[in-house]
Amino acid sequence: MYDVLIIGGGVIGCAVARKLSQYQGRFAVLERAEDVADGASKANSGIVHAGFDAKPGTKKAYYNVKGAKMYAQLAKELGVPYANIGAMVLGFSEEDRDILKTLLRQGIENGVDQLRIIEREEILEKEPNVNPQAVCALDVPTSAVVSPYEMTLALAYHAAQNGVEFLLNCPVTRIYEDHETWHVETPRGVLESRAIVNCAGVGAAELHNMISDEHLEIIPRRGEYYLLDSTVKCPFSRTMFQVPGKMGKGVLISPTAHGNALLGPSAEDISDGYDTATTRKGLDFVMDKCRLTWPDANVRSAITTFAGVRAHPATNDFLIGETHGAPENAFEAIGIESPGLTAAPAIGADLGEQVAEHLKLPDAKFVKAAVPLLKPFAAMTEEERADACRRDPEYGRIVCRCEVITEAEIRDAIRRPVGARSIDGVKRRTRAGMGRCQGGFCSPRVMEILCEELHCSPLDITKSGGNSHLLVGTLNDIAKEAQGHD
C-alpha cells in the first residue's frame, strides 16, 4: 500500500515527487514511457519565463512568477544547466507596441521585476542581429534558460535518493476508488494507494475523466523546432520572442542552456497527444516566422529537428489541486502547458505540501541533500580534467567526440538512481549523441557500455524503450531467416 502514487514522470510529476520525499511515507512515480521526461518535458523551449504573458489572477500567472523566482537556487542545488540570459519581445508596428504595453502592465501586476519597453536603437545595441525593422521591444532581464530534461532528471534523482520509487514502462490503464483506497491498474498489476496525483500531461484528462464526474478536455498542441550546432554561435544572446498570438507565445530564437541556437515552436492542434513527428509544413512555418526576428535565418547548421506536444487545457488555465467531482484524496496538475516548466518547482512545492497535509504525513526524519549532476568533462579546466582522470581512469576514454563525453560519465548515467536504460536515456543525461554527428560515431560504443552495465545483449538495447530496438538480429539470424523465405 502506497501513501501516494504520482502518475506521470514529467517535470511536474518529478517536482511533486521531490517535495513529497521530504515527508514520511511510501511514494511512487508511475511513468508510461521507459524514462522520465519522455513527453513535453524533453521537447519544449527550455525557457524560464519571467511571467508577463499570463493573465493576472490566473493560476498560470501565480505559478509562473513563483516558479521563476525559485529557479536559480534550485538549478544550482541540483547542478542543472541554467542561465539568466534575459529576453526581449519584439514589436514591429505601433499595434505591436500596444500589445507590448499590455504585456508590461500584466507583468508588473504579476510581480515581474525590471520590465520596460525599449526602442530600436537600444534593441540593436543589445542584439545587433535583430531585424532592424523592429520598432520597440519589451526588455525582460529576469528571463532565463534551463535544460528542461536535465531539470526533470535532477528532480527525479533527488526524489529517488530520498526513497521515491520510479516505476517505468508502467502506463495506467484504469483508476478506481474502493473503501477509501485508490486502485491503479498497470501492467505490473493493481497498485493500491491512499492518494493519487495526476500529472499525466497530455494523458491527464483521460485519467481525470475516469474518476471525476466533471468532464475535462486537453487539446494536444504540437510545436516543432530546429536545433542548430553548438559550434555555430547563436545570433542572439537573449531569448528573442515575437508578440504572442492566440496559439501561444509565438516563435522564438534563443540560445539553449547548452549554447545551441533553438528556433521554434510552431503551434498546431492535433488529435494524438503522442504524435511527435515533425512536418514540412511545421518546420517551414518556423523558418518563415524566424526571418521576422532574424532576417538572415538559416538552418544550414541544423543538427536536428524535433517536436513536443503541449497539454493545452480547454479552460486555458492550469488545474491544480484536489480533483473536483472525484472521491477524496485525488489530486491533479492538469493542462500544464507553457509556462509549465517555469511553474514546475512552485507547483511541486504547493501540490506536494497540499497532499502531505491532507494525508497528515509527518516530516521525514532525514532528507538527503541532492547530489548535484556531475560537472561535465567538457566543461572542466585542464587541471580538473587531469584530476578526474586520476580519480577515475574511465574519464580518459572519450566516447562522444562531438560533445566530448567520457565513458565515466556514461557509466554514471546508467548507474545513478533512475538511470539510463536506452541510447536516448544516455543522451539526455550526458549529451552523448547530441552533437554534430548525432550519435553516428558513439552509438555503437554507448550500446556496448549499456550491455556491460545492464548485463544484456545488444539485441535488447533500444533507442528509447518499447519496440525501438536498434538491431534486429545477428548476421546468422537474418541470413537463416532469408534462406527460409526462399
Binding site: A386, G396, S464
Partner: protein, 426 residues
C-alpha cells in the same frame, strides 16, 4: 597540475590510412622523434570496417580489402618502429602546436610538437542536417554506423532497407546487407547524378537489381518506436518535392549516405584557416596549413574517393612535416590556385614556387556532370594544359598533375586557375 609536457618533433593525429602514411613518410625522411595518437583501440581507421575489396589498385596494383590495405601500412609502421599510441583522444591543438590528449592509461597528457600532421578523417552527415520531417524512431542510421554494426559487431540493423543518398558507403552497404539476407528496396538520390563511384553503382546496385531513383528524396519518415516506412518523392530542378509523385516504401531501416564532412573541430580550435568549399584546411602544395608547422592530409583535408590517393597525399604531408621539424623552411613566392568555372574545391589552394617544387597534383571535383569537356589549367591567361575528358562527375575526384616544366611557366604568374571548358583552350 599538468607537470609533464612530452616534447616531440612530429606528432600525427590519427592512425587511419592518412596518419599511417604520414608517419611512415616522416620516419623514412629521418625523423625518429615521432608519435602517432589514435583514439580507437587499434590503428587502421575506417578501413577496419571496409571489408569489401577494391582498395589499393593504384598503389599496390592489386585488389585488397580495407583491413588488408590498412595492415600493410600497420606492418610497415611496425617495421619502422613507429610509436603508435592507441586509445588516446586529442582534446585540443593550439596555434603554437601544444596538444592535449587523454587516455585511460595516462590520463591527461600534454605534447609540445615541432610539427603536427592533422589526419583525423571525416564523419558522415546526419539526418538532422537534412531536416527530413517525420518521427524520430529507431532504424535510421548513417551508412557507416550500419557498416560498423554489420562488419565489426556482427549484427544486422534491419531487414527491409531504403538508402538515401548514393555515396559510396551507402552503395557498399546496399550490397552488403543484400548479401546478408536483407531486402534493399531502393537507393534514393536527390541530385540528377550519383555522388558515388560508377563502379559501385554497377557492382552494388545494378548487379543486385536495386533501383536507383535519381532526383528523388525522402520527404517523410514513419513509425513511432521503430521505422515502419518512408515517403519518397521526385524533386524538381530546385530540389523541391513535386506533389503527386510520392511513393511509399514499407521498410524498417533507412540508411543515410548523404555526404562526408572533414572532421576539423581540432583544426578550427587551433585557428587553422578552413575552406568553405572543401570543409578542410587551406593548404599549400606542401600540405602545410595557414599555421606554420601544421600539416593536413587525407579526408580531414578534403574527402577522397580512393584510399590510394589518401596515402599518396599523406606521404607528402608526413615528409614535409619531418623536414619542417628538422628546420627546413620554404622561401619561394606563394601564388593562389583558384576554382574556375565548373570546378569546386581545388587542393592545394596555394603553390610555393621554389626550386624544391618538382611538381604537384591538383585535386578537385566538378560542380556537376560534364560530358566531352576540357579540363583547363591556366597561369594568369597562359594555358598550362587543356585535357579532353569524356566524363567529369562530382562523384569522382579529378587529379590533374602539374610538372616541373609547367611550374616553371608559372614563375611570374599571379594566380593559377582550374576550369572546365567546352573547347580546348589554347
Amino acid at each position: 597540475m599538468i607537470d609533464t609536457v612530452v616534447s616531440v618533433n612530429v606528432l600525427v593525429i590519427g592512425a587511419g590510412p592518412a596518419g599511417l602514411a604520414a608517419a611512415i613518410a616522416a620516419k623514412k625522411a629521418g625523423e625518429n622523434s615521432l608519435i602517432v595518437l589514435e583514439r580507437e583501440d587499434q590503428p587502421g581507421g575506417i578501413l577496419r570496417q571496409c571489408i569489401h575489396n577494391g582498395f589499393g589498385l593504384h598503389r599496390f596494383k592489386e585488389e585488397l580489402t580495407g583491413p588488408e590495405y590498412a595492415q600493410r601500412d600497420i606492418d610497415a609502421a611496425r617495421e619502422l618502429d613507429i610509436d603508435i599510441r592507441t586509445g588516446v583522444t586529442v582534446l585540443s591543438v593550439s596555434h603554437d602546436r601544444r596538444v592535449t590528449a587523454v587516455s585511460r592509461e595516462n590520463g591527461l597528457q600534454v605534447f609540445q610538437a615541432k610539427a603536427i600532421v592533422l589526419a583525423m578523417g571525416c564523419r558522415e552527415r546526419p539526418r538532422g542536417a537534412l531536416a527530413i520531417p517525420g518521427t524520430r524512431c529507431a532504424g535510421i542510421y548513417s551508412a557507416g554506423t550500419a557498416q560498423k554494426f554489420v562488419n565489426l559487431e556482427g549484427y544486422m540493423p534491419g531487414r527491409r532497407v531504403v538508402i538515401l543518398g548514393s555515396g559510396d558507403i551507402g552503395l557498399i552497404m546496399a550490397r552488403r546487407m543484400t548479401l546478408q539476407g536483407a531486402k534493399v528496396l531502393a537507393c534514393v538520390e536527390l541530385m540528377p547524378y550519383s555522388s558515388g563511384l560508377n563502379r559501385n553503382i554497377v557492382q552494388c546496385l545494378q548487379d543486385y537489381g536495386i533501383p536507383l531513383y535519381l532526383s528523388h528524396t525522402v520527404i517523410d519518415i514513419h513509425g513511432r518506436d521503430r521505422l515502419t516506412g518512408v515517403t519518397v518523392a521526385k524533386v524538381d530542378e530546385n530540389r523541391r518535392p513535386i506533389p503527386g509523385t510520392e511513393m511509399e516504401f514499407d521498410c524498417d531501416t533507412l540508411l543515410l549516405s548523404v555526404g562526408l564532412i572533414p572532421e576539423n573541430e581540432l583544426s578550427a580550435g587551433a585557428g587553422v584557416e578552413l575552406s568553405r568549399v572543401t570543409g578542410g584546411a587551406v593548404v599549400s602544395d606542401t600540405l602545410e596549413t595557414s599555421i606554420p608547422g601544421v600539416f593536413a592530409c587525407g579526408n580531414v583535408l578534403h574527402v577522397h574517393d580512393l584510399v590510394d590517393h589518401v596515402s599518396n597525399e599523406s606521404f607528402r604531408a608526413g615528409e614535409m612535416a619531418a623536414r619542417y621539424a628538422q628546420g627546413e623552411r620554404r622561401t619561394g613566392r606563394e601564388i593562389p590556385v583558384r576554382d574556375g568555372r565548373g570546378v569546386r574545391g581545388v587542393v592545394p589552394q596555394k603553390l610555393v614556387l621554389d626550386s624544391e617544387n618538382k611538381g604537384v597534383d591538383l585535386m578537385f571535383r566538378p560542380d556537376r556532370v560534364y560530358r566531352d569537356h576540357y579540363l583547363t589549367v591556366r597561369a594568369d591567361g597562359k594555358v598550362l594544359s587543356s585535357v579532353r575528358k569524356m566524363i567529369l562527375t562530382p562523384g569522382e575526384m579529378v587529379v590533374q598533375p602539374l610538372n616541373e616544366q609547367q611550374l616553371a611557366i608559372c614563375r611570374d604568374a599571379q594566380e593559377i586557375t582550374v576550369s572546365i571548358t567546352e573547347e580546348k583552350a589554347v
